[in-house]
């Protein structure tokens, strides 16, 4: 009889082994899936070449990388508190929408010095993401609603709400030609792209500042400590006299706030307008960020590394579309989800081997 024996390891496997293994096996699984489901039209080499194009050309994926790094940092904040914020998409887009609304209804913001305008917009994005996250945080913390379905459903609400708001007739943010999108942000708010790349100095600076801020909050403030204790021992937090519901709500809200900043960076540095329907035009950074955060094992220093790899995978989906053609092989943007799902699933299963040894005994 075949037996599976699971034994706790005396010494855990070095933590970087699992993400690397998960990536390799996950990509392998994706290759097999795509090979068979496209009727052998997507060859293994096509997938590998697509991924390599992203990995070897940092300038191509740099903007995706920076945004995913911000989202990854932000999600790590709530994940460390045991709060699974799957609502990054909603927070991202609500912040982006708030900026559009603010800029086109309050012209005085644009008339400031460019630096001041950009800072106001970033702060507003943070507040918008914070507020959307706090709404979920209150329900999670004080009522006990499971944050996973809650934040996920709030993503749909955000999508449809923005779809509606963008198309309100006669509003100053409506595209002047009547297309299903908002007007572009004024030039003063758009970041200047460094020639030969897809990023700007502002994007790089904001990413670094967010990373440092989250590190400082988590490692050097009382709030950060309570968030981390919330993730490991809620009862300890309660017995120490801290409010467990408020800690949960703040972890989710802060995470949402920083994701909101990513939304602003996206709007100012990548695409200066919001296209609708948001649910079909979104790049899904809120979801991709989950992969980044999990692959980083919630270690902040590893977030950029994971973001770089995930950016390559994301880019690979589109490169595959270009190489094979949607019509020919049925390769759509959804291929990215095959990569994400395969790597995440492998990671979720392999994480066991870092602490446990699995032996198959015949």
């Amino acid at each position: 009889m075949v037996s599976i024996v699971v034994v706790r390891r005396v010494k855990p496997v070095p933590y970087f082994i699992v993400p690397i293994l998960a990536l390799l096996i996950g990509i392998g699984v994706s290759i097999v899936i795509l090979f068979f489901l496209t009727g052998y039209m997507v060859q293994p080499m096509d997938v590998l070449v697509s991924i390599w194009i992203g990995l070897s050309q940092p300038n191509v994926i740099a903007n995706i990388f920076l945004i995913l790094t911000i989202v990854g940092f932000s999600l790590a904040m709530s994940f460390k508190g045991g709060i699974y914020n799957i609502g990054g998409e909603g927070q991202f887009w609500m912040a982006a929408w708030t900026i559009v609304w603010l800029v086109f209804t309050t012209p005085i913001i644009v008339s400031q010095a460019p630096l001041v305008s950009k800072l106001i917009v970033l702060a507003t994005g943070f507040i918008a993401g914070f507020a959307w996250g706090f709404l979920a945080g209150i329900l999670r913390g004080y009522v006990g609603v499971d944050e996973v379905p809650l934040t996920l459903m709030m993503n749909y609400v955000a999508y449809y709400l923005i779809d509606w708001l963008v198309m309100l007739p006669g509003r100053p943010w409506r595209d002047i030609y009547g297309y299903a999108k908002t007007r572009s942000l004024p030039q003063t708010l758009q970041y200047s792209i460094i020639p030969g790349t897809t990023v700007s100095v502002e994007m790089i600076l904001v990413t670094i500042v967010i990373g440092v801020l989250i590190w400082l909050i988590l490692d050097f403030t009382r709030l950060g400590l309570t968030i981390k204790i919330h993730g490991s021992n809620v009862n300890l937090l309660r017995s120490a006299g801290y409010s467990v519901p408020l800690t949960a709500a703040l972890a989710l809200a802060l995470s949402g706030g920083f994701i909101g900043v990513a939304g602003v960076v996206y709007l100012s540095g990548v695409t200066p307008s919001i296209r609708i329907p948001v649910e079909t035009s979104t790049s899904g950074f809120g979801y991709l960020g989950i992969l980044v955060t999990w692959l980083s094992m919630l270690e902040l220093f590893a977030v950029p590394i994971a973001a770089y790899v995930v950016s390559s995978l994301y880019n690979a989906g589109f490169t595959l579309m270009a190489i094979k053609g949607t019509q020919q092989a049925g390769v759509t943007a959804g291929v990215t989800n095959v990569f994400i799902g395969s790597v995440l699933l492998t990671y979720a299963l392999l994480i066991t081997i870092s602490e446990y040894e699995i032996r198959i005994v015949w």
Partner: protein, 307 residues
Amino acid sequence: MDAAFTGFLDIMISSAGLFVAFYLMALGHSIVEKSGILNLAIDGMFALSATLAFFADVYYGNDLLKSFLLSAVVVAFFGLFMAFVLTKFPVSHGAVGLSLMFLMYGLSSVIGYGPRIVQATMSNFSPGISLSLKERIAGYLIMVALSVFAYWFIEKTKIGVSIKASGEDPAAAEALGVNVLASRLVAAAVGFTMIGLGGAAYMNFYVRLWDERAVILSGYGWLAFSIALSGGRHPLVVLLTSFIFSILVHSSLQLVAWYGISRELSYSLPFIVAIISMTIYMATPLRRLLASPKSLGRIYFREERTV
């Protein structure tokens, strides 16, 4: 009054296909979660099953048996895999569920595209069937009968009680002689088959078209999740919540015509109601009356054990 009642009856009849889909998915999800397995893959399962049904419809000339069978078997396979790894290994229910969800979104996208192109070359072809009035009424009646059967299965049979025990306290259940793995596998086989049938029912009896927005991006799997949650995973109560949500989703577009609200806002309404219903469930005595399984989503694992 009569006009309002007639209008309501019209909506009820025309939303029968959606009701069947929602109830099958929510009931299947409830059975899975009663065994202690947190099923966060439900939206992916829904997308995949609806896509597979579409695939079979296109390639097998609307053979409904093959369509339902393909969806049910594939989704049950994934469900059994999920139940096995979550019971046998110390793995996070949330992580596995969400990963499977993303994977299934991807699979749906890749699988659905081919038959969609083929469908475009077929004249006068729509997947599934247009239900007659009698079939719609039969759909309601069959679901009522199914709810009674499911209640009996869970509450009165030995395997049903084992499933519940596995969800409440798997360690204690195992000590009393319950085979937790076997119970969860049975729950997964039954529950995920129903989820697969529900997705196929959505494709064959209700939406009858495939595009990413109608299937993968619709979020209806999450609505089934909240239907089950707000109904306390009780087969009879879930019947009621499924009915409410099917009416709500189906009539949301009619609100556009009746009250002049925008189409986009009408799309968001079911999700807002889902959030409100989950909140009501958690904030009221319903939480105790229709309590979640105590070990739902908790890792059940004992070291150094054998299959």
